[in-house]
Amino acid sequence: MSELLSQQNGRALTLTLNRPQARNALNNALLTLIAEALEAAQQDASIGAVVITGNERFFAAGADLKEMASRDMPATLNDPRPQLWARIERFPKPLITAVNGYALGAGCELALLSDIIVAGDNARFGLPEITLGIMPGAGGTQRLIRSVGKALAYRMVLSGEAIDADRALRAGLVAEVHPAALTLEYAQKLAVSIARHAPLALQAAKNALQQAQNTGLSQGLLQERQLFTLLAATEDRQEGIAAFLEKRPAEFKGR
């Protein structure tokens, strides 16, 4: 059976990490599968949003340590991993992670990279790299501090200790917490409802939100306005506003 299962439900695609024997550790092969699946989903007009999930006990409990241990400094310099992460980050459609159980190390970084985290009440988020004599290497130190602030980010990165779903919710790391048995279902519902919106508008809005992390406010506002203007040229914008005024559901075409 494949290590990445995929299933489409309406306009939402669900990718399930499936390496239970390795606690869904994200080795290069699995990251490659994710990147490829997302690139295929990018081209597929029938897919409006993607959910990535693991199983009830593990979202993904880190990277593959055996793979990492065999790499010395020169090999790490030319590690293909950063390219794989960059490919995943370039996915332009809404990306939701549905996290049950452990999201540690690279698993936590994958969740941080996603646009929305929906967590089960049994979820635990942590960056334990420090306990191995290394540090987060795929955005952990950068994205975490931007969502939870300095106090908790330093606490987690320097101690290596994980936080539970409740703490993650209060800190702003996750958008919602549900009973674990309903996490995936609710994340898929969210994906389906997001995927109903105009694809170009979703792409532009996601782009603008990403810019917010990369630029200053005035530059961000400028780019936001440009993206906003771009949407004014789409058919879906006319349809969206017309449908609202006529009190009927909109039918978007992605144009």
């Binding site: 549900h178 009973p179 048995a181 309903l182």
Partner: protein, 261 residues
């Protein structure tokens, strides 16, 4: 030496605190044995109810003060250690256990023994049993969930009185105050508790587990959040085999056979 005697029959795990010569008070080894047995209760799906009681004339006298870890005659002991290592995980696990936990309080329950009993889902006490919040008399604080359970069970005024005075509370008084479920004559305790446990072992355990989690969650939730949680849990309960069985049995006017799933 078995400080914890466990016995599984007809879906009930009976767990007997077994240091009768020390009124079943806890030392580290007893905690370790208890933790091991709890793991079995958590993992074994055929166990659908947990019944905790004490051997001999007491239920549990809390922490054994002769234990070297808490001996105050030398350097100041780190009492936080046993709380953090043993009592807190124990209470967390009992609260999380998705099946009913019954305490059959057969005699004196003092200190952590009293608060442990109050941390169980249903408490049945022998008429001669006593609850003693002895912590304050030693300069200590009620642990094992004591400061959390007491005000929720009795209200703040009584919780304060009990915890600050450290007086002895009879089983009947505890029952009158709504702290425990039932008081029975001493010789009936064992049968009454076992009957209740056997009853639970035939009930829709999955649903009972959800009820328990919901009641715990309500202690910290707003009404709004709790209503959402009820929706979620009802959604889950509605998908259980036992719900299907319960409704079919009701419509067919026959007794239901629940599997706990």
């Amino acid at each position: 030496m078995s400080f914890i005697v466990s016995d599984v029959q007809n879906g009930v795990m009976t767990l007997t605190l077994n240091r009768p010569e020390r009124l079943n008070s806890f030392n580290d080894e007893m905690h370790r044995q208890l933790a091991e047995v709890l793991t079995q209760a958590e993992r074994d799906e055929t166990i659908r109810c947990l019944l905790i009681t004490g051997e001999g004339r007491g239920f549990c006298a809390g922490q054994d003060l002769n234990d070297r870890n808490v001996d105050p005659s030398g350097d100041a002991p780190d009492l936080g250690y046993s709380v953090e290592t043993f009592y807190n995980p124990l209470l967390r696990r009992l609260a999380k256990l998705p099946k009913p936990v019954i305490a059959a309080v057969n005699g004196v329950a003092a200190g952590a023994g009293a608060t442990l009993a109050l941390g169980c889902d249903m408490v049945i006490a022998a008429r001669s049993a006593k609850f003693i919040m002895s912590f304050s008399k030693l300069g200590l604080v009620p642990d094992c969930g004591g400061t959390w359970f007491l005000p929720r069970l009795t209200g703040r005024a009584r919780a304060m009185g009990l915890a600050l005075l450290g007086d002895t509370l009879t089983a009947e008084q505890a029952h009158e105050w709504g702290m425990i479920w039932q008081v029975v004559d001493d010789e009936q305790l064992s049968d009454t508790a076992r009957q209740l446990a056997l009853h639970f072992a035939t009930q829709p355990t999955f649903g009972l587990g959800l009820i328990k989690q919901a009641l715990y969650a309500s202690e910290t939730n707003t009404l709004d959040a709790q209503l959402d949680l009820e929706r979620d849990y009802q959604r889950l309960a509605g998908r259980s085999e036992d719900y299907r069985e319960g409704v079919s049995a009701f419509l067919a006017k026959r007794p239901a056979t629940f599997k706990g799933k």
